[in-house]
Symmetry: D2
Subunit: 338 residues, 4 copies
């Protein structure tokens, strides 16, 4: 089968891999579409994401939809042909994080297309993905694959919102208008935020934000043009963004950090955090929010504008380059069927 494999920084190849049949407890999925995520771009550009370094060839991708191809012997699951998506994580269930109901922080997680473990966990940009049966989730009735493929990044957004606490009736500022920022904006509207302001340094991504329901968008240069937000969700990961978020939130407000800042330290206005008694909360991936995301998509959350391009697998490199150009693209999909 063909797969999109990273061999190191800037070394992305579409190549032929051997298929293997699903074992007991596994399911093989014929992959239809895969979304390129920011972390995929990191692997492509730098051969690493933070401390996770690519040390062996790894299939990228953890946002995928498709249909069930085959079930392992004695395995229960949706029958062959069923449209499905794949929850990217299997957690240990025993570490303190898992016991506390925070599986997204599992110290021993297996996450699709991640170099955190050695051997790496192979990802989903391949024609036939074999995963534990528990990770395979049937699509809700009537949900188009092209929308369902957004379940993973939307789950990140929903989890970020849960970390923010209640947004119903509140003023929410989202800094950064990439796919995660825009999906968070759409989810915040669905959760009843009174205002959802989205900012970015570029004009093009803000058009997507408007299309998915932002009540206002602001083109910023350096400092955020907004103050006194109840909740700020930082989704850009830019070095100056944490400080900007703290300056933009009201006394006693909440800043959620979902964008991954550069490695090392970024500037932090500590006196603001202390004297205004601000809550700053990191947020990382998701757990059961995957189901919530699918449900939101099935009920019509208006996020189609986030997907700007779809390319066949053989043009994966072009797709990655597109996804990296924020003036042109937001979410770029790979079509694994052609």
């Amino acid at each position: 089968m063909r797969a999109c494999v990273i061999h190191g920084g800037s070394d992305l190849r579409v190549e032929e891999l051997r298929e293997r049949p699903p074992r007991a407890g596994e399911i093989a999925v014929a992959v239809g579409l895969g979304g390129i995520c920011g972390s995929d771009l990191h692997y492509w550009r730098h051969g690493r994401v933070g401390d996770f370094v690519v040390v062996e060839p790894m299939v990228l991708g953890h946002e995928v939809v498709g249909t069930v191809d085959a079930l392992g012997p004695g395995t229960t699951g949706p029958e062959a042909g069923t449209p499905v998506t794949v929850h990217p994580a299997t957690t240990c269930g025993r570490c303190p994080s898992c016991r506390a109901g925070r599986r997204n922080l599992c110290a021993d997680v297996r996450y699709l297309g991640s170099a955190a473990r050695i051997p790496h966990v192979q990802g989903g940009f391949c024609e036939r993905l074999v995963v534990p049966a528990d990770q395979v989730v049937p699509l809700p009735e009537g949900l188009a694959p092209r929308r369902a493929v957004l379940a993973e990044p939307l789950a990140v957004a929903v989890h970020a919102l849960r970390r923010a606490g209640e947004v119903f009736g509140r003023r929410v500022l989202i800094t950064g208008s990439g796919p995660i920022g825009c999906l968070t904006a759409a989810a915040a509207r669905a959760a009843g935020a009174a205002e959802v302001v989205v900012t970015d340094l570029l004009a093009a991504p803000l058009e997507v934000a408007r299309a998915v329901g932002a009540t206002r968008t602001v083109l910023v240069s350096d400092a955020p043009a907004v103050t006194d937000a109840d909740v700020v969700i930082e989704a850009s990961g830019s070095p100056a963004a944490v400080a900007g978020a703290l300056h933009a939130v009201r006394r006693g407000g909440t800043v959620v950090l979902v964008g991954l800042p550069p490695a090392g330290d970024v500037p932090f206005p500590g006196t603001v955090a202390v004297t205004r008694e601000i809550d700053v909360r990191g947020t990382f991936r998701f757990d059961t929010e995957f189901t919530t995301a699918l449900d939101l998509l099935a009920r019509g959350l208006p996020v189609d504008a986030v997907v700007t391009h779809t390319l066949p697998l053989d043009r994966a490199a072009e797709g990655f380059a597109l996804a990296a150009d924020r003036n042109v693209a937001s979410k770029v999909l790979l079509d694994l069927t052609v």
Copy 2:
């Protein structure tokens, strides 16, 4: 009457001020003891605390005990001679923070000995302090003034603990062994923390920490020697402390910032905050925790070791210098009666 007045950076004077009788709704307190706080030291050294600049002579001090001297006409309150302490804040009761039950964040607060407003709110290092009757709190039966004078900084510590969430049965790390760090350690023990580790760059303050109940103390050079704390309470305000706290807390743990960092930005390991999903919470002053603090003191919280020196008012400058020397002193009191 005599008072300890700041006129600008390094310009601290003990001078004679005119007394005024309490008006309706006010009470005059004959001040007995006053504790020198870190913010008093800031005014003394720099003529400012953050954005609050001394632009007119201001009596310092917001940690005071004494006895009721006189009540304003028609005013209800404890009778003359009653031992009392003074809650340092009067809040507006109407701003969003007040309505939300977070009076410590009141945008229009009047706080004893603070240059945040112009004219400044005069403080308590004076022989006779006139304040709104609501701020005057009788000492619990049997509580010695020398202990009661710690109610204000202990209230800061109790509020910091409330911001930390539950510490019962948890491992708590406190970075910084000054008066706030030590009082927080004592309070954390009273709240049932399983372990209370206190760190400092100096050995002398750690002796105080041990005396007030720290289960372990660690002399650190740069990096904290502790990892995987459930809760870290940063009480040093040193520039590297925020980053140190994030590295010392477990996945999904909580960092509370009570020490005031230097103005501007300090380093912040954003990737740690995001990927470990850490909560970082500023904490500022207190509200009803003043009563809790008095109650803890009355029930015997072992914090006497925090007070290392008591000097007469006339030697105030010496007292400030002592308080600034962490190798020698922890909390320094002024005796206003001699």
Copy 3:
């Protein structure tokens, strides 16, 4: 001026009262519309609501809109002619509930048209209502009085939802389809609930629930036909409703009680509460949610169907009788201008 005055059980009169000019700090409002609430009906039928007994003539009503008629001397507020509504409560600001940010529980509240205090606080079903200036709230631009008059009961609903915790993406069951149940349904949808099921013993009120956005309605006989809700909001106040709510919620779920049960005790399945570890939360009135409610109405929350009848003041008795007939009416308004 004319007013709708309760003199005791079943003794409701429209009579002529003397007007008085607003004093300093007060505003006189020319009342336009007033909504009849369940507690108004209680006063009318029984001359009491729980422990609050009518012992002197009292103008009823606490859901009113109108325009500013006059400001007291030296009083700041919206100018004469401004369309306004009236927050029904003034709180003491000093009791433990107020300090904790729970003003709706103020032990010394003054609430429009309530017999909780003696002398009673006169209500708003009168042509000219004089209230403290702080209680007068200008209508958001473009909000019709006919919708704005729902701000008070909608604020009750919004507060009930806040007490429920997060409903975004959750399954919410609302038992009771009266005005509060229906407004809660509309608010729950606005807050992103995945499902909002409303039940009632009667068919007519369920039509209103559907019109305001319930995703499903269920005509029930005795037992609720729903199980495994994440959140149940009991809005009927019927004697069997608390037990029904506990049987309908999932393990670890939340039951919010907003309907006022009959005085005395109602049945409670304690073993269910314990072994399924259920949270049962009373909810009472509101505070700042009044503003949120106005904002929701201004942004188009689809609640118009809740208002089924509007009658002139002189036909108040008929209006009360209508409001008590759940087969015919939901919210009944009095028009104070004709």
Copy 4:
């Protein structure tokens, strides 16, 4: 081996059972002491606990300590001879409760000595208990078995306290002075409660409450003599207790129900719950609090007075009768070694 087996209501037998060797993943524990719990008494008296009916012979007991006897083939765990206790629950790890971090609500739990499943899960009142290795917990250094055997009921108490929210500095009322009430009192003191008042209908159990640290005890007839508690923890399970707890708590306070009320409905003052906006929270068993409990015991929590009697296994029936006589006994232990 000998075991204490329930065959039905009032039919408790000490009889000889066949031992079986531990399988892979299991550990055999030589049981030393076992504590008789209220649910054991229910099985003994009624042949059932709520809906769980004894339909086949079942070894009772879920509070046990002992030493490791043998490990199953290839099994990792503490070596033979290690003093251990046994966490009574194995959870599924996959149901919504488990995923949410609330394993104590697992729909598919296996709990020692419980008739909830068929076949029943055999309990720990036997000379040699074989359990999954994960359930075996080494005793902290220096913790005597006689104290360690209280870890299970103390974990129930700690979990009840966590459900109560913060008790540090608060006034806590505990209704019911049986083993759970007394252990909750001790834990509440350790968690920094300012006052811990314990009530009971009998004088004898209140002596235990005083011995473990209650700040006050009250002999009650019907109504609780206490009002305005911040937190009430109902630990008696008596039919009138839920209503009593609601009358005893302050506005906006919290009632935790840990005592199991009689099956069916108990009286509930719904108007109090609503108008005082009270939180009523069921609490059931525990999860990770087992470790916290062991740690508290190792650090010297003063709970020895809770154990009033220890009898050899052969006198189990006498032990059960004793445990049921609240005028004489609190916690009764069985000694499985003699």
